[in-house]
Amino acid sequence: MKRAVKGREVRAAAAAPKQPAVSVENISKHYRRWGKSRAFGTLKSAFLGRGLASSLTPSEVVAALSNVSFRVERGETFGVIGANGCGKSTLLKLVAGILKPTSGSLHVNGKVSALIELGAGFHPEISGRENVVINGVMLGLTRRQIEEKLPQIIAFSGLADFIDQPVKTYSSGMYVRLGFAVAVHLDPDILVIDEVLAVGDEAFSHRCLDTIREFAARGKTIFFVTHSLALVEELCDRVLYLEEGKVKGLGDPREMLAAYRLDVSGKEGARLAAEHTLDQDRLRSEPVEALPAIETAVASRVPEVSSDAGSESAGEHAPASSQPPSEESSAEVPPPVEVPRARRWGDRSAVITACRLLDASNAERYAFRSGDEIVVEIKATPNRPLEDVVVGIGLFTIEDVCVHGTNSDLDGFSEGVFDAPATIRITMPRCDLAAGTYLLDVAVHAKRGTPYDYWRGACRFRIDSPTQDVGLYRPERRWQVEGGLTWKPS
């Protein structure tokens, strides 16, 4: 294997104009699987003069990156996004020259400063000042250069009072601040940043961001890996979207972020659907008999609806009420227990056999966009003929805040006569919910209030929204401005 990147030489390379700052062609990086024969393999190939990884069979390696190509132009702020383990950090270390690619070519033009781990190499026993000097030399400055910059670095870190104390006395935030101060004063042509801005206090992280913006404004190249999508959207000119070591997309930040968000919510939907199936299976195999308090289960989340059926106050007592079992309704019953999530109770006169969510095209789904149509489908079977059935649903946030609750009674239907299995569909044409994870309670109960089957957390679903607005409700809206207020072009 030819050494495509020789770190220190790259630094020395003259910054010729028109060359891209980073050009990556068809680069792959394979890691060796951890195993007993691993070390011997490396030695063998070292002695035999072969490439250190070229002689491995596919089963012995893990491909962290496969055939990735892109160019980062001079002065560009380039972001890399993707799920954990998609190869972001590997790519970053390749660009920084810490790792060598298994195949493909990588050219970096200009001096690189990599903010991968701030303060890497600080020695705990010696003072902050000495560590700054050593760190600077480690990162490629001469002793004189670093000593010239020392006052600036100390001022930037805001640690002037502690700079002569041994670094082991620093808090982790101070440690990182000092590390960041050194890294940004290296005056690199290319700044490589890996998720390091999440540390330090609010004021310092603002300063970090300002520094990065200033770098970008001075026409420096920034290569940026982060999970903070808002930061990517704000800072980046172009974004590379990686998935499982392959390029999923490359281009406009908004487009890439939208694609990424969509994929993430799709995956979450799939996960929720899988969990839903598991839950349903479990609850089906766990017969309702096994659940506690059959006759006394009046002490439930479904207080008596019949007492003042149809009145306004009944609205608060829809099956959706999240109050724990109330004491007065169960005088001789043992003290009420907190009802755990995803539990069921009731006297089994009727049983809910299935509950699922459907989208507008009747496909089962557990991830929706805000404003989508959601259909709740409930299948229930009576164990004896019933003549006073009410069907209810309740919508909760994951923090157990009630978002909405209703039942057939409140919605204006009389008691149901229930004598054979039935499927009930409740269509909500526009669910203008804010982004988040929600839980659905479903219940079949007597109009008087006796629960036949109350299923808490029967479905769990996710809502995604194109904007990051606050609250539970996300109304459709339009903005209009008249007069002397104009928006800057974004």
Partner: protein, 269 residues
């Protein structure tokens, strides 16, 4: 390999600050600080003098005063043992540097050998003081003190080169086999007894054991230290040639091995 050596030279500033850091950090927090580097060999010499002059004197006449004889071998041996232990652990100890920043790995074993070399240098004045005292009959027996001491710097270079070579080799090997460090803890004391420090090879009866002991790659070097410091003899050109050859070959092989495995460090360390 030549370019790698040039790289190594280019990083001399880094080597400098790291060696200084190593030395500073070592005594940070201790009251006597750097004095320990002087004090340790001084105490060592004191104890040996006490033991071999008063507690168990009868030593062969050629090695008298035995405390000084022992000391001339022990000082360079301590450099060897400490350097190799430090160098073999150098890469794993500084793993975060190799994984997180672009860092020239070859600097680390070099710093280990150099920092221990400084301790050795600080021990030398104590030895010289002992030799001077011997002139005034402080010890039983006589020591020649004279021009052959000028051979010391050259011996230093030769031992340094040898230690670097072995240090590079061991440090690269330790990245892939952590066993090396455990092996060294056992191997170094064993090697100590196989090296002419407690004894002189010339005094041993020729036999199979002596033949084997002569194969020890550092045997000529330690005979050289004894010659220059204790016996006050000029080392023969053939002896110089042998020591230089061993050191150069060790360095070339060790560094080539290190250079070959270099790309695996950031991943495997």
């Amino acid at each position: 390999m030549l370019t790698s050596l040039q790289d190594l030279y280019r990083h001399r500033a880094l080597v400098g600050v790291l060696t200084t850091r190593e030395l500073k950090a070592r005594y940070r927090g201790s009251v006597l600080g750097f004095f320990w580097s002087l004090l340790n060999p001084l105490l060592m010499l004191g104890v040996y003098t006490l033991v071999f002059q008063y507690v168990m004197p009868n030593r062969s006449a050629s090695m008298r005063p035995y405390a000084l004889f022992l000391f001339t071998g022990l000082l360079p041996w301590n450099w060897l043992a400490a350097s190799l232990t430090d160098a073999s652990g150098a890469l794993p100890t500084h793993g975060s540097l190799l994984r997180k920043i672009l860092f020239p790995a070859e600097v680390l074993p070099l710093v280990a050998v150099l920092a221990q070399g400084v301790h050795f240098l600080l021990g030398l004045p104590i030895l010289l003081a002992g030799l001077v005292l011997a002139q005034f009959g402080f010890f039983e027996g006589t020591v020649t003190f004279g021009l052959p001491l000028l051979q010391v710097p050259l011996l230093l270079v030769i031992e340094g080169l040898f230690l670097l070579g072995l240090g590079f080799f061991l440090s690269a090997l330790t990245v892939h086999f952590r066993d090396v460090r455990d092996l060294l803890t056992t191997a170094i004391p064993l090697w100590f007894f196989a090296t002419p420090i407690l004894y002189s090879l010339k005094d041993l009866k020729p036999g199979r054991i002596t033949g084997i002991l002569k194969l020890n790659p550092v045997a000529p070097l330690f005979a050289g230290w004894h010659d220059a410091l204790f016996f006050g003899r000029w080392i023969s050109p053939a002896h110089w040639g042998l020591m230089t050859l061993i050191a150069v070959v060790t360095f070339v092989v060790g560094f080539a091995f290190f250079d070959r495995l270099r790309d695996s460090f950031a991943e495997a360390v």
